[in-house]
């Protein structure tokens, strides 16, 4: 699966896209835990806003191989 980071999170972790392989069954929360183990990942908030395949997701949503998980800083459109 692919994990996308945006805006301040991409700056904090130093990348905006990463291919990630998790032991199945895996959830959004598992992917976030993996991110937190990376340099700068400790700066992610406890419950960041996430989107799975373009719709908002929760930490308990299950992940599968072709998924696109996006971790979204506080929205600031408009």
């Amino acid at each position: 699966m692919r994990v996308l980071l945006f805006a301040s999170y991409a700056e904090t972790l130093g990348f905006d896209s990463v291919e990630m392989t998790l032991d199945s069954p895996a959830t959004v929360g598992d992917a976030l835990e993996r991110l937190r183990g990376l340099p700068g990942g400790e700066n992610l908030p406890p419950r960041p806003l996430c989107a799975l395949n373009l719709s908002q997701a929760t930490v308990n949503d299950p992940l599968s191989g072709g998924d696109e998980l996006a971790v979204l800083p506080p929205l600031a459109g408009g």
Partner: protein
Amino acid sequence: MAYLTSEPVALGPLLESVQSPSRGGVACFLGTVRNHHGGREVLRLDYSAYAPMAEAELARIVAEAESRWDVAVAVRHRIGSLEIGDAAVAVAVAAGHRDESFVACRFVIEEVKRRVPIWKKEYFADGTVEWVGAAGQRGSGAVV
């Protein structure tokens, strides 16, 4: 799929796309880049988006508004580097009754701010650069 654009945003084309002979009222909103935020002078903003999701959310917001009220909705959000006074977001809502046009227009801009994955980086006159909302700030900037 033209809700996001890197071109200048204006109300004119949106008005044209929603007006019809049976709809007598059009409510609009234009959000432009302000020269201040939190008491500090702002020089410019960079807008970025998770584009495919932003397009999908904007389409959902339009569809929700058009199903809740008898209205025609157009919305555009600009991304990229914007100067003070540039329009970041424009909404136009035409309806047979002006109450619906106002209510739906307000709904659309509130949902845009609440749900669409767009971020902005503020460049202040004092040289600092900040992601809006990243450091516990209230999201602000163009639409306020």
